[in-house]
Symmetry: C2
Subunit: 296 residues, 2 copies
């Protein structure tokens, strides 16, 4: 059931930039988003509506969102929100789709959002009830492993999907937050998920920390999953695993898929130019292969 088309959602402006301590000027962020739009991305996670004291890098969330929504009416711009307050701010800035994160691991969820999983689901339900016309996406973090608890049972992921669907989320991503997922595990998890929820589309948010990122993409594709989040340059990481890079690099992902005759709609040359711009302007190690080793 291999796919011949993939949807890639670019998350560098949120997930990538979020981990960078030095504030990136809003103008630079907007130029990166310009580059991503010009590369062909139809959906970009541009910011996070969190408290500026928690993540000062995202203090320009409103300005970013409003600017790009006005400038590019045909592109979907999404944002991460941690709670109802963030959802309200995103909504008021014109964002039509939000991502909300709950970890499959209780320990990681507490570290990440200072709530139990149950409390997180209550927060999700609150957002759903309040903002009926927001597209609501749930990211199940640490779905393939947790830095504190090790492997996460598939049953836990299935249970969370069930709860989320009952609440009324629009779609769900499974995230390998710390880059430990292996292809066998990804295959088995996706089979269990598709088996239980055959009519639902799922997406994957993978990291390439241990070099298994694109191998995991491959097993997903072989099982008909065609929606992935990735970040230009491979920026992004997990705050609980210092030095742990990073999201799958969008250009590595596009390169592999296009070479496999799976259409992404992305112009690889323009994307690499954008990655070069990020490299030039932002003080961070890029972990992507094309960004570091070769151009194409």
């Amino acid at each position: 059931m291999q796919v011949n088309k993939a949807n890639i959602i670019e998350v560098c402006p949120r997930d990538g930039f979020q981990n960078i301590n030095e504030f990136i000027p809003t103008e630079t962020k907007l130029k990166v988003i310009d580059g991503l739009v010009n590369s062909g991305f139809q959906k970009i996670q541009v910011t996070s509506f969190v408290h500026p004291k928690a993540v000062p890098q995202m203090k320009d969330a409103k300005e970013i969102a409003q600017t790009v929504i006005e400038k590019y009416p045909n592109v979907d711009f999404t944002a991460l929100v941690p709670n109802l307050f963030g959802a309200k701010a995103a909504y008021e800035s014109g964002i039509k789709e939000i991502s909300y994160v709950i970890s499959a691991s209780e320990a990681h969820n507490k570290e990440n959002v200072r709530r139990t999983i149950e409390e997180s689901f209550e927060g999700l339900a609150e957002i759903r009830n309040r903002f009926k016309d927001l597209t609501l996406k749930l990211d199940i973090a640490t779905a393939f492993g947790c830095p504190f608890l090790g492997e996460v049972p598939v049953s836990q992921v299935l249970k969370m999907i069930g709860t989320a669907l009952k609440i009324g989320v629009d779609y769900i991503f499974l995230a390998d937050t710390i880059g430990v997922a292996n292809p066998k595990q990804v295959g088995e998890t996706l089979e269990a998920v598709k088996d239980k929820y055959p009519d639902r589309d799922f997406g994957l948010h993978l990291h390439d920390t241990r070099g298994m990122g694109l191998a995991n993409v491959l097993v997903a594709i072989e099982r008909g999953i065609s929606t992935f989040e990735s970040a230009a340059g491979g920026l992004g990481g997990c705050p609980f695993a210092p030095g742990a890079a990073g999201n799958i690099a969008s250009e590595d992902l596009v390169n592999m898929l296009e070479r496999m005759d799976i259409s992404t709609g992305i112009d690889l040359n323009k994307l690499i130019d954008t990655t070069d711009f990020i490299k030039e302007k932002i003080k961070a190690d890029l972990t992507g292969h094309l960004a570091n080793i070769c151009r194409k």
Copy 2:
């Protein structure tokens, strides 16, 4: 037809070190080989019997080979040879298995060994006739793409396999010399090869230049191929693509396979210690993920 056991041949002491300009003291090389043996590798390509003027780094080939063969009688130590002269030197040093490289691309073969493909096969036949009791392995370089000609047709690979088997080589590796192979292509090539030569075992020598290394391992495993060459730390590259890293890192490969319940016989902790030793002693960028990003 997924495998549950893989054979990993470590090539760092030859393929990895060969590209390093500054001479690595023989003692350091021997310590690296000690570490690799202690990690559990049963077969290690330890050197190359080339003219010391062509590759000064390999001028201690005889000493390396003789020392490790005497020290570890239960491990297979192999060497690369470019010609009959090298085969003779390897044989006299006690080496029982040699690798010989011919590129699938005429242009790359000329750059690499200054011969036509036909002349290279003549050289291979010469070695075969002269050293009947040497195990003879052919590496088909640029089997998935060439820096000069682009994609290499599968028919060319099949034709070369046919010629090699007629000459009497013992086994054959397909090498993605410049790290351009994509999983679809690897899958199709391996299917064609297994289809035409169902009773033969083949191995893969993959690079991780564009992040597709382990994804390519995965498609091979799915097709019953279980023999891979890799290099500790991801050392090695292609001299015709400057900055182009590198072999698949052995520790990345072992980590993925073991996580997939595919037994490698390698102790990952000891291998990572060896990689750390290489990192400490040898001035070269390691491109492996575990070597750079996280320990496990």
